[in-house]
Symmetry: C2
Subunit: 111 residues, 2 copies
DNA sequence: GCGTTATGCTACATTAACTGTAGCGTCAAG
DNA sequence: CTTGACGCTACAGTTAATGTAGCATAACGC
């Protein structure tokens, strides 16, 4: 099932959902933004601070793209996950767990 | 536990594993490469073809970075996951499943 | 030995993406 | 009627990715 209207996503001319998704997640700051929103919504400015002063231009671009894809939306509490996006957001926790295990292994090798 | 020797990762000066990881995964082509390697190793050239003619410069950069982080390695069958990296690679399947559900929802909205 | 093919790259000029600083417009509170 | 928060936009400068070309090494067939 091809994704309509977002087929222009960089490098994903097939419109296959996984390609559109990988393309979006692979853009600079996308994952970091999703990480910072894992627990609760944040305002534009708070997100900017949490991300270590990402430029507003890029932040705005990513937020627009993520809203277009209905992964995030902009409600009363600021920017946060949609119901559907939240399921993707939970993956952030899994990445966190894996990364800690990974770091432990790398540390061993370097000892 | 900070990750040693890879603290220079873009935008992750803290060395926190999750930041190093998000930084790496957020680079263009990283996720696509991991996707294409999900089932079996591929040679440099096959990977290039699978990725729709990614430039060799970028492919080489990513592969070097992923080897440095011990997520991939280069063995007899070409480039493939390390034992540790493979656990991360399984997440690709989860992303695929989610993306299909997501596409179905987007299609509904657009109907 | 000698051409052929596959592989893993490197060089380099061009183009696209991101950055950093400044500041604007809107709104609500005091 | 000013002050502060918020959500941006403009724009010049820097960094990263692209695309084409081609090199070096090694194995294979003859």
């Amino acid at each position: 099932m091809p994704v309509k209207n977002i087929d222009k996503a960089r490098g994903s001319d097939t419109g296959r959902p996984i390609m559109v998704l990988l393309d979006m997640l692979g853009k600079r700051w996308t994952l970091r933004i999703m990480w910072e929103l894992r627990d609760h919504p944040l305002t534009f400015r708070d997100l900017q601070k949490q991300c270590g002063d990402i430029s507003p231009t890029t932040l705005n671009n990513r937020l627009r793209e993520l809203r277009d894809l209905q992964i995030l939306d902009h409600g009363s509490g600021g920017y946060g996950y949609t119901a559907l996006g939240a399921e993707l957001g939970t993956q952030m926790t899994i990445l966190d767990i894996w990364s800690n295990k990974w770091a432990k292994n790398l540390a061993k090798d370097q000892a």
